[in-house]
Symmetry: C2
Subunit: 61 residues, 2 copies
DNA sequence: GGTTGAAGTGCGATAAAATGCACTTTGTGG
DNA sequence: CCACAAAGTGCATTTTATCGCACTTCAACC
């Protein structure tokens, strides 16, 4: 997933990110592993911690 | 929210959208009302039904 | 005023997410 | 090989989202 790539690029551990984002380490691991259907709030926290924001786009065709 | 605007623009009811998207009417109402912390799957279904997709952007500054 | 369709809302039941904990695996440096 | 840090994973528990249902509100129309 993109999360891991971004996180490693920032040179921080899962623990670091989970603390900055304010989600549990367990949840972050699940999120990175892709075996999760996270809540919007959960995602926003993590994305925000990674310097990302969510946006809507037209789905081409 | 943007969902309602889009939906009314399409000229469909909440019931219509909920059925097309595959989520319960109750959930869609909550989603439009903004009193929800929906799951990613839930949002994708609705956004997809509205011709939208989600994207990540750099958070300015 | 009565009827109808769409939308808003509260509540209880259930499915699922989020968490904590214990443990395993993997890599890295001594 | 050993020690340590980071990551992966299974499980039990707690919390929360999702859903159905009943009821209310509101507007349009006859």
């Amino acid at each position: 997933m993109a999360i891991r790539k971004r996180r490693t690029l920032l040179g921080i551990t899962q623990r670091d990110l989970s603390e900055v984002a304010g989600v549990s380490l367990r949840s972050l691991k699940a999120l990175e592993a892709g075996d999760a259907n996270p809540s919007l709030g959960q995602m926003i926290k993590v994305f925000d911690a990674l310097g990302w924001k969510m946006a809507l786009e037209e789905r081409g065709k």
